[in-house]
Point group: C2
Chain length 253, copies 2
Amino acid sequence: MGTTQLESVPEPKYWHLKTVLSEALDQDFAVGEVLPNERELAARFGVARATLRQALEQLELEGRLQRRRGVGTTVAPPRVGVDVGTARHSWPGEAGDGWQPVDATEAPAPTAVARILGLTASDQVHVVRRTRVTHGQPVAAELLYVPGTSVPGLSGIDAPAGPARARAVLRELQRAELLGQDRAVELGSARADDAKELDRLPGAPVLLVTTRYFGPEGTAAVSVATYRADTCRLTFGASGDVEIHEDAPARAS
Amino acid sequence: MGTTQLESVPEPKYWHLKTVLSEALDQDFAVGEVLPNERELAARFGVARATLRQALEQLELEGRLQRRRGVGTTVAPPRVGVDVGTARHSWPGEAGDGWQPVDATEAPAPTAVARILGLTASDQVHVVRRTRVTHGQPVAAELLYVPGTSVPGLSGIDAPAGPARARAVLRELQRAELLGQDRAVELGSARADDAKELDRLPGAPVLLVTTRYFGPEGTAAVSVATYRADTCRLTFGASGDVEIHEDAPARAS
């Protein structure tokens, strides 16, 4: 890993350190390997702890490092491409869509979601919680908001709670007419409950994907999915008449 | 803005502080307003500076606050929806696509890009730099990598450099056959040159959008666009037969 002294470099120290560390990760470390502790690393590279920490944060943002509770800082595997934009339009809950129903409750939707659905802040909606697991790792947690009017055939009695209730809501949703959908992706920070499910620390950077599902009466359901930003690359399938099967590399810089 | 003391709250202090601050931003501050300095805020809420800083970082990730050089921390306007996934497939550089050509050079592509293009690390490609401006604000910086074989008609003499050269490369690209494209979105940190163009600090979280353009011979060009994660929400147009014109709210939590 070398013992390069960085004291004499004119550019921001943490920036140069990041580049040096990045090369060291490529050459001297294996995926999953635990890095030496901060004190040791700082001494090795001749930098202050604060500088080292800045460089480590950068590398974490770029998906090169992972910080895990009780493990420390490890070398991250390449990000996994997770397909988000499906060309065919289908309701959530279709067989084989990769999501596991966890629970369903009735509660008011968050203000922004209520506004999209044309509801007031006190209107109750079905809130379906699902998780998405890829290669045995949780990659996303979703809250799906479904107004009662979108699932008029849903009965309250046979499956009052848990995954069975979630499946009942999703099953009813399949019967409704779906005209289209759109998506938005933005940066967010993990809420405590999502963080726990995704094995992240609360406040970790996440990618929020908001999907609006449109029926004949307007927006019929809204999904807010929280994807791990450290391990995931969101892919939006090919448009046009080509089929792409290989996996695009994660880093282009 | 209140003088709530947070010392007695059992959950992580910065987390609760974030919620309190978020409400204060809604109620007591206008968009663009500069927040009091950290010392003053920490005193007002009865928390340590480190706790305050954690909460401010969270709010910045969520797009509620902006830190700007020479200005301080200001209340951010709602994120702007920037259309990224276009349904029709077209080459970059089509009239009205919202991007400004800045420059074009010839250089080897970064390793990951070279791999997508089926080139070696030493092969030269055309590197077109463009910027995207929305409502007078720079929202994205792009590097478009075009192998010479994708623009066989390009001549080296009439526009050797600058925006004219960039336009010449883009114009030649329009003549090539385009079969399709796909995209991936991931979290990254701003490189120094992009940061400058986007009026951000180097290392700020950004959304990296990698687009592959497919021609008859395979991948004909690769674009790596760096979007500001603080001010942008990337939107992927409606699929299906509905036209959506209204702007989706930025926050759903």
